[in-house]
Symmetry: C2
Subunit: 518 residues, 2 copies
Amino acid sequence: METRLLLLLGLCGLGRAANTTLPRPPNLVLLLMDDMGWGDLGVFGQPSKETPNIDQMAAEGMLFPSFYTANPLCSPSRAALLTGRLPIRNGFYTTNAHARNAYTPQVITGGIPDSELLLPELLKKTGYVNKIVGKWHLGHRPEFHPLRHGFDEWFGSPNCHFGPYDNKAAPNIPFYRDWEMIGRYYEDVKIDHKTGEANLTQMYLQEALDFISTQHASQQPFFLYWAIDATHAPVYASREFLGTSQRGLYGDAVREIDDSIGKILSRLQKLGISNNTFVFFTSDNGAALVSGPDQAGSNGPFLCGKQTTFEGGMREPAIAWWPGHVPAGQVSHQLASVMDLFTTSLALAGLQPPSDRQIDGIDLSPVILQGKLIDRPIFYYRGNEMMAIRVGPYKAHYWTWSNSWEQFSQGIDFCPGQNVSGVTTHDQEEHSKLPLLFHLGKDPGEKYPISFSSAEYQSVIERISPIVEQHKETLLPGQPQLNVCDKAVMNWAPPGCEKIGKCLKPPSPNPHKCFWPH
Amino acid sequence: METRLLLLLGLCGLGRAANTTLPRPPNLVLLLMDDMGWGDLGVFGQPSKETPNIDQMAAEGMLFPSFYTANPLCSPSRAALLTGRLPIRNGFYTTNAHARNAYTPQVITGGIPDSELLLPELLKKTGYVNKIVGKWHLGHRPEFHPLRHGFDEWFGSPNCHFGPYDNKAAPNIPFYRDWEMIGRYYEDVKIDHKTGEANLTQMYLQEALDFISTQHASQQPFFLYWAIDATHAPVYASREFLGTSQRGLYGDAVREIDDSIGKILSRLQKLGISNNTFVFFTSDNGAALVSGPDQAGSNGPFLCGKQTTFEGGMREPAIAWWPGHVPAGQVSHQLASVMDLFTTSLALAGLQPPSDRQIDGIDLSPVILQGKLIDRPIFYYRGNEMMAIRVGPYKAHYWTWSNSWEQFSQGIDFCPGQNVSGVTTHDQEEHSKLPLLFHLGKDPGEKYPISFSSAEYQSVIERISPIVEQHKETLLPGQPQLNVCDKAVMNWAPPGCEKIGKCLKPPSPNPHKCFWPH
Ligand SMILES: [Ca+2]
Ligand SMILES: [Ca+2]
């Protein structure tokens, strides 16, 4: 313990030094996985142990076993990360129906509002060059373009790499370089549906390495948002990695990502900038068990997966890495969130978060640099509803829902092989008067609800209730962005389409309420 | 890869040297946990990450993510470990009913037959001094005493630390030093039922340390079988560790064990004998989820727990440690078994396994010392039935059963929160004609059976069937030892009872068929 204390004191010194004597604020690299589960890393117990580079990153840095997303779906999770705010505040939710997950498919009319301040916008003011590599997912209409929201460069796509795959009834998803579409998925950017072969991760890796080297040469601080998507169905890997995993195609994708992350960290080290680059690894939501076993990862010991507010939907693998600043081999049990990456990045850049709005993310730098623990709740939202809250080791469910009986009867199962009576419900069940309570330390799998009549239950609920009340009373929901869909707003003719002859003719506008079944 | 190859070649040399030039065969230390689950170690993904010493042991040695017990219950597992033979061969099973787990409670008349050759018996011939610390569980009548089966010293108990706790209707469980009882549980050897406080792990630790130091001083090779039981319900920890875990009492017990293992390894290092001592860590069966969450561990991503032949019942945490011989930081995906510890220990001691009987354990020394992989099946037995088999990444269930509807309706649940339709069955269901097949690489949780009509199914079953047929055709079951119970054989008056005034009068003999509900 004494050694540890000394270490921390030493680090505290280093942390201060970073703010005062370093030539410039640290570079920021955010490695954001797509649908990768907590249980997909060797360091979090994947039996195949096929992530040596990410495990090494953890061994050299700080592991967060209790790190959460703000929503169990891509778009709202990413909107929360980049704004530091819950989707209910930044508008990435729907009011079309109660407690429904919504995202930004091709037909969505909404996207990230201009009124929201994104991390790259703020970093830009202090001289950062910002690049997004990969999936944006905060809206695809011109006003939502990432280069209109603080990024300087983009190589990737506004949507998921879904179909239609044939460009007939609807346009294939576009792929951008900066302001303009340079091709479309399944036409110019190939993913072989039968074999799962695609070179995309290699392309994303090359973009990351080039950007790092270029920014290093130009001596400007940079923010790299590496939002790759090989682990999102349809899962893909390049030929070199196909068939190399014990876990099938999904594992191949993970192995390629692991290899790429090794190369990114190694590039930082070779350039001699690892001690001035803060790197964070996490994922946007839990593994999509509904697509398992071939197209889904693992949520380890946790309950259910993507789309749900059980631990499997929202607990994420997370690692902070910053040699010389983050001590090696640490584990922090801080309750942390993707939204904290907003506030923490600002703090490392020497910036304050906006004071004119509620920010949900906290500054983790005392946690990461000084080993402190900060008391704070975690809210589990699904659409417009706060489904659950975590305070300390306790999680209280105010609403439970896996998915509807109708969807379930069609074979859509967010909790395959799992069934906790009264918990993984197929009706939306309200428990506000008597929340279901779990001790996640003893029971990380949410399988043993604490008895309503126990003294433990009484005292914990007394502690949690005022936090929930205060949250709800002061909550100012943003204008919902994911209510209206329209086939006319699809990617028929994105900027740059003329140059490559990929413009299509949109149908007449026909705005309507989006249907969100989950 | 080249570095690794060189390492392995170097080790290969070291391995040979051990047999030819070392002054004596290596000491053997087997750290056997009781009901500890695969998912209880940080290195296997326990979110609390509270096993720094065991994780360090793994980092310095070789981890086995696919290590199995021979039976999902204490007694047969331990009989298999010490004989290198499946319980169906060594007699540690029952024929009272089909596919029932059986063990050695106080009323059991049977135990380890004299005809079985135990590891310490064989090691003794080449000069080893053998000590068992902790739970024996191979029978408690005089003829089954561990000192009659090759051990030189014993400090522990023949049975689990169950009740009756009051010594009225039945005697409390005895506690032995070598040949004689020195006290009884809940009388002389205290476990506080309300707080879970007990000093037993500290006592077992001290015995281990003393034995190691004494044997080192006497320059004789030793075998230490450290069969502790703090993680078996009723779970216990000493005052220093009570309340220190995020996981409650169970976690306190794990933390104390972890601390003890750190001290044992440290003692070996301080004495300078770590490079001549082969240490292996594992557990006797999966976590007893039926006792969760307060009195049970975690099986990580695996299905069900103790008593079942799903992965949660039989996959065990396992680590080999031998500085200078086992390279650091290795992961072996060898399919391995507790029975291999018999054969491997003999090999390291320069001995051949008995040739007059079928031995199921294989010699893992080429795996551990040279990184080789050996093709072999894993058989999953429950009582007298082969329930399942694993070949490569595939597991085929020939029988499925969790427990009976009758037991289940009384709240006894071996798969809490888990329910895989047609797999976690409450009737004993035979699938011999069309085994249920899983790919454990893609689907470690046994949640997605492979379609019977797929080409994959056909080709895998064609590979597995002859292995099963050959196994069944050549199987010579041993005389079942766990069929007959009798209150008269309880620990009324164990050897030494007179000296401490703890003799009780047994009732008249009344042998009857034991009832095994699971
Ligand atoms: Ca996602
Ligand atoms: Ca056991």
